[in-house]
Symmetry: C2
DNA sequence: TTGAAAGCGCTAACAC
DNA sequence: GTGTTAGCGCTTTCAA
């Protein structure tokens, strides 16, 4: 059963193949009579254009590659959603590949995307293998690194200072009068590591460096992990006055575990999370957090890519800091005005 | 700046293009001497094969299309993870497209995938537009519908009976002695609707049909939605003894809102969710739920696709019911044995 | 507005 | 084991 091709349509409609091609891509350039005949033939045959052939012939793929560590973490889902909105709206295909937090897998992902001849690459993170860096640099296509700010961006870079945000979260706890402050995380990916750096800096500047209590386990961030980490910490005898969790999932799990153990939040222990996920405002107690701009990051990255593809002139490398915001709520002892 | 092609590599290595092609695809068919020369040339030039050309020439894409409603819901992330493991492991590319719970967008997604000449389509759900159904049927490629069981499957169908699961959740509440039982949901997608059908059936069979309390709002399922729904219900004066939430996110939100309002779970109100998400076991109180098999669904769907692609003989349409399981925990008044 | 010719970069099929 | 030839199905360029 041979697949229907553009030539089949042309034959049935009694026109040349190129006319069919035009009807598909720039219908206005074809007279209405022919357009009708061609469309009828397309309908009748159930013709679906072969994109591989189109890409080869035009040497345009209209595909953008996106690399994220995982889809489990909702922040990447939000980011992808925004990317999709913009790019698909502009007629591009988005090819998503996961790196699973591995630089090696990220390198492979880059190779896959280059093989697909994507017209741009948007990549979460700024840490790459040497070869990956080389491939991205030499590919001569727009590259956007996101979520973090790089000391040495490849091309465009849209993100925030994770260490500053970690510092701000910790400072918030210090400002609330706590001094025994723990940092809770599972896997220390680069961004989590930076937040940890910020935590240490804040502690050091407040002369609290000796009281840091860090619990780490090699697991991806989740509510269950937060619960486990708090249990682990508690059972080994650490009783900090406050904890800074690497993200809101871990914070929520820690909060649940506190309730289970009769530890009151924030009276016995204050908790701040990271990312200000959707549930954080309606948790009980409501969860203090650091608001980050995932949606805007995705949107802006997509827009920058479109702009770069539409302008022939190579842009100078440029960085955009989308910042963050400390959201103080009940879990760190702040009374919150009622709102929806 | 012309892109490097296979011919460039061939020239540099002093061999014919087909030899380079062989080195890439079946290295064992080439002598070691030539293989070395070719690989060296590939390295030197930084050659990356053009997949579009390869697809066109071989008329094989090694691509599998997957359609999911959204990436926000973690159950689809889990499902995709399993799909990826199997399919990428077998040398296929996975092309994911979102339908955003819209049958029209699903139809478009199918067209996009057929244009990509994917070798199979795996699609969450069994409800399609007429044209979508037609396209899938006529495409003559393996199609797997998942998450639900269809009365009329297109090809393969791997899922569960959502209405039975909804019935079981409701029956669990009835068995625990509750009679004023509400159903909480936001968007009623097809699966949620089926669970609602199951709820109504269980209520009817227990002669409780007049007590159903249903709250609906057109929002995607989330913790914040659960919180809002419970608040809404409470404020309009409905005080059921138990609620069945369309999923665990809504259930968690409802539980948080109860705490905020001083409503005790399960003493004042019992709650059961759906999907048994990761956090449900460690919530406080732990959340009763219906365990569904997202990971297995993805894995099996992928394996079935591979099997279908490897056997020339057309399989007879076949269905697999992966079932579900009632997980009784504290939120419905069940004392849970301690476990990790 | 329409068409003819050539070719995108690769691989299948067949020869040697 | 290696090479030659002839496309895959579309779009580009140029001509009419």
């Amino acid at each position: 059963m041979r697949r229907i091709t553009l030539d089949d349509v042309a034959n049935l409609a009694g026109v040349s193949p190129i006319t069919v091609s035009r009807v598909l891509r720039k219908p206005d350039a074809v007279s209405e009579a022919l357009r009708r005949r061609v469309n009828a033939a397309i309908q009748e045959l159930g013709y679906v254009p072969n994109i591989a052939a189109s890409r080869l012939a035009s040497s345009r793929t209209h595909a953008i590659g996106v690399i994220v560590p995982t889809l489990y973490n909702v922040i990447f889902a939000e980011y992808l959603f925004a990317l999709h909105e913009v790019l698909v709206g502009a007629g591009f295909q988005v090819i998503v590949v996961n790196s699973r937090y591995s630089e090696q897998e990220e390198e492979n992902a880059i190779k896959v995307l280059l093989g697909q001849r994507v017209e741009a690459i948007i990549i979460a993170g700024v840490h790459h293998t040497q070869l990956a860096h080389q491939l991205l640099t030499r590919a001569h296509l727009p590259v956007v690194e996101t979520f973090e700010l790089s000391p040495d961006p490849i091309d465009l870079n849209i993100g925030m200072l994770q260490d500053r945000a970690g510092q701000a979260a910790t400072q918030h706890l210090i400002d609330r009068g706590f001094s025994r402050i723990a940092f809770l995380a599972g896997n220390l990916d680069h961004r989590s590591q930076s937040r940890f750096d910020g935590y240490r800096l804040a502690m050091q500047e407040a002369d609290l460096e000796n009281l840091e209590i860090v619990t780490q386990r090699p697991r991806h961030s989740s509510v269950a992990l937060g619960s486990d980490l708090l249990a682990f910490m508690h059972e080994r005898g650490d009783h900090p006055e406050a904890i800074f969790c690497t993200d809101d999932n871990v914070a929520l799990g820690a909060m649940q575990e506190c309730r289970k153990r009769g530890i009151r939040v924030p009276d016995d222990i204050a908790i701040i999370g990271f990312h200000d996920l959707e549930f954080s405002a309606c948790a009980s107690p409501s969860l203090s957090s650091i608001m980050t701009r995932r949606f805007e990051t995705g949107k802006l990255a997509a827009e920058k890519v479109l702009a770069a593809l539409n302008s022939t002139s190579r842009q100078t490398p440029n960085q955009i800091d989308l910042g963050f915001e400390v959201i103080a709520r009940e879990s760190t002892g702040v009374t919150v005005a009622v709102s929806s």
